[in-house]
């Protein structure tokens, strides 16, 4: 009964991407997980998707510290082009600074803030939350 879900990882850390891919696959996501190395790549990708009337990935995992365009800049731009009613972005960061969390949560497209490292337990909680209708 498992439906393969779509996901996108926006992170410049190859080890994190490697691990997260495995975790996602283990938890019912498809093999075609999109990966962007920074905010710019992701923004370009999503602009294409939106203009071709395709669906955005159901789950977007966004890192904050990245070269070229960091997570914050991405959120600014994404909120401009996004017409999503549902917030589907999860910010994943090593930061445990409360100010970072509050700032991230202030974006309408951000569903939650998760502190790295990501684990199976955290991911399962996240999926549960994701499938719960409505906002927090």
């Amino acid at each position: 009964m498992e439906i393969t879900k779509t996901a996108c990882i926006i992170d410049d850390d190859p080890i994190f991407v490697f691990g997260t891919k495995i975790l996602l696959k283990n938890n019912g996501f498809g093999t075609d997980i999109m990966v962007c190395k920074n905010g710019k790549e992701a923004l370009d990708l999503f602009s294409d998707i939106l203009s071709s009337v395709k669906e955005l990935p159901e789950l977007i995992l966004l890192d904050l510290n990245m070269p070229v365009m960091d997570g914050w800049e991405f959120l600014e731009e994404f909120d401009k082009i996004s017409n999503q009613k549902k917030s589907c972005i999860y910010v994943l960061s090593s930061s445990i600074d409360k100010r970072d969390m509050e700032r991230a949560m202030a974006y309408p497209s951000v569903r939650n803030f998760i502190t790295k490292p990501l684990s199976s337990i955290k991911l399962r909680e996240l999926i549960l939350e994701m499938e719960t209708p409505g906002h927090q």
Binding site: I15, K116, S120
Partner: protein, 627 residues
């Protein structure tokens, strides 16, 4: 026998002819005096006429005519009479004396010794005539009055007068002149220029001599201040003024008159003031504190040496009122000062602020300015205060702040970057374990897992510390202390029960502390669990919690009967990170470090007393929520 009666007797005895010899001259009366028996002296009826007693019956006349004479004049009269009798060639007898008229006003009688020899009735008898000065012309009376007046003024003003006769080389002084120096006039004899200079202070002598010579040679005025030696050895400050009153036909000074005035007290005050002024200036200079003053009455501005140095103005720079503000940096700094000055000019106030100035040479400096306004009749007349160069202090504060910020940033970066790596390790471990559960059997793998977990924990602590200071600013609020304590105890109730710990709480209900809620609980929790953790192995823990108010602080004390800590050995490290002092399986060495940081971030402090095997006593201080 009354003097008058005796006088009458005398007259009858000695014949009326003599007595009445003066009656014919309208303006003169006669008097006589017995040197051996002064009370046998008398005047004829003309005297009573001059003094307005002529309408009075004889029985109503004063018993003694001399009682109507001014006492001092009477003394002069007698002295002159004595001198005259002794050396008639040297001293002629001619004296004006003051009497009181029947109607109260003064009249002056001029007494002269008769040039005609009196009948040799008595060798000691002096006879003469007297006349009423008024009758001789108002000028003389006025003059005598004036002399009298000046005499009074001189006496009242405590002036010591002197008159120098350059030709005779003597100086004549009054009693006060000599008294000022502790002498009598006789003791000063002979008094002249040289003897005078001998008493002048050696240090003043040169200047005094010069001024003196200058004046004698028609230069300048005779006015000087100098010290003279008192009879008792100390120095008396004298103000001396004089003027030449008589010149010889050749134009050479013949006589000079002047006065001495004792200014010791004023001079001592002046010297003391000058000393303090100098001291103040020196201490100001040492502390680099300058004095400034704005005088709105006279539109003047004064800057002391240090103020000028701070502003780096040239030596000949003359500041104007506009300069008061011009040196402050345009914008915020100048506005702040302008506002403070405006306020001070509206009501008597004191301001104390720090601002940046741009000096005359263009350097930027931080100064502390203190100003005080002074009012007279509701109007601000002066504004004065201090200026101090605090550039060094300000730079240090700036440096420290910057340094601190850098440290916080550093800690953030370290904790963040390290976290991403340890996070990755944790994730990889988990994934590997999921793929192959047998991996956990491997010792290496097991140890790597432990290292990874420890590292995660360390970084978590590091983050907590970094966060403490950031949190406090926004999250301080008032909390009831007793409620907070009870809540913590409730949370760890099971631990307390299991360990059979006894907790005695003696905290007043109404104490409020200003704190971050989470920190307050963390502090209470840590101190209680520490006491339980480090109890003596052979007895149960008894924790006494007491609190009270100490001005702006609330103290909260945790006293236990546990193992205690050797403070001599570990005191300096007690609140350090990762310090453990007991071989305890749960000792992590973070608790005290974190709570110390939390307490200090909230503006409080923590103190500890402890002795090994007796127990520890931690006292925490919080800001009083009601203060």
């Amino acid at each position: 026998m009354k003097p008058l009666e005796s006088e009458l007797n005398f007259y009858t005895k000695n014949g009326k002819d003599f007595l009445n010899s003066g009656e014919d001259g309208v303006r003169e009366g006669t008097w006589h005096w017995d040197l051996k028996k002064p009370h046998f002296s008398g005047v004829n009826s003309r005297f009573w006429g001059f003094l307005g007693y002529d309408q009075q019956p004889v029985s109503e006349l004063p018993a003694d005519w001399k009682s109507l004479m001014d006492p001092q004049d009477l003394e002069f009269f007698r002295e002159l009479l004595d001198k005259h009798s002794a050396e008639p060639q040297k001293y002629s007898f001619d004296i004006v004396c003051k009497f009181r008229h029947f109607e109260g006003y003064p009249v002056w009688l001029n007494f002269k010794k008769s040039t005609v020899d009196s009948p040799k009735l008595n060798p000691y008898k002096v006879v003469g005539s007297f006349s009423l000065l008024r009758a001789e012309g108002e000028d003389t009376v006025a003059l005598k009055k004036k002399v009298d007046y000046f005499q009074n003024v001189i006496e009242a003003s405590n002036l010591g007068t002197f008159e120098v006769d350059f030709e005779k080389e003597i100086a004549i002084c009054n009693d006060r002149y000599a008294g000022m120096l502790g002498y009598t006039l006789e003791e000063l004899e002979p008094w002249n220029h040289n003897t005078w200079l001998k008493l002048v202070h050696p240090e003043d002598c040169k200047v005094v001599k010069e001024s003196y010579e200058k004046y004698i040679n028609n230069q300048g005025i005779y006015e000087m201040e100098f010290r003279m030696k008192h009879k008792q050895g100390h120095w008396v400050w004298i103000l001396s003024r004089a003027e030449i009153i008589e010149y010889s036909p050749q134009g050479k000074p013949r006589k000079m008159a002047g006065y001495h005035y004792d200014i010791t007290r004023r001079k001592t005050d002046e010297l003391l003031l000058a000393k303090f002024k100098k001291l103040l200036e020196q201490s100001n200079e040492a502390a680099q504190i300058g004095y400034w003053e704005l005088d709105f009455d006279k539109n003047l501005i004064y800057w002391s040496k240090v103020v000028r140095e701070i502003r780096e103005v040239p030596a000949d720079y003359n500041p104007s009122l506009d300069d008061a503000l011009r040196y402050y940096l345009e914008g915020e700094d100048r506005e702040r000062l302008t506002k403070a000055i405006e306020k001070a000019m509206q009501e008597p106030t004191k301001f104390d602020l720090q601002a940046q100035i741009k000096t005359y040479k263009g350097n930027l400096k931080w100064v502390r300015v203190i100003g005080i306004s002074e009012f007279q009749e509701g109007k601000c007349v002066t504004l004065y205060g201090l200026m101090q160069d605090i550039s060094d202090k300000q730079k240090m504060t700036d440096d420290l702040t910057e340094h601190n910020n850098r440290l916080i940033n550093f800690a953030h970066i370290v904790s963040h970057n390290l976290r991403s790596h340890t996070g990755n390790i944790s994730m990889l471990m988990e994934l590997a374990q999921g793929e192959d559960p047998a991996l956990m059997e491997n010792e290496f793998f097991k140890n790597i897992k432990i290292v990874s977990d420890n590292m995660n924990e360390t970084i978590l602590h590091l983050n907590e510390i970094v966060e403490i200071n950031a949190k406090v600013v926004t999250a301080m609020s008032s909390h009831n202390l007793l409620e907070s304590i009870e809540k913590v105890i409730q949370n760890i109730n099971s631990t307390i029960k299991e360990s059979h710990t006894k907790i005695e709480i003696n905290v007043p209900k109404d104490i409020e502390v200003l704190a971050v809620h989470a920190y307050l609980e963390s502090i209470i929790l840590n101190l209680i669990t520490n006491a339980i953790k480090y109890k003596k192995t052979d007895s149960r823990a008894i924790i006494k919690i007491t609190a009270g108010i100490c001005q702006e602080f609330v103290y909260l004390e945790f006293a236990d009967n546990g193992m205690g800590i050797d403070l001599d050995k570990y005191g300096s490290q007690l609140f350090g990170m990762y310090r453990t002092f007991h071989e305890h399986k749960e000792a992590r060495g973070v608790g005290l470090f974190i709570i110390k940081n939390q307490i200090e971030a909230m503006g409080g402090r923590i103190e500890v007393k402890s002795s090994v095997n007796k127990g520890s006593n931690f006292t925490t201080y919080f800001k009083n929520g009601d203060y």
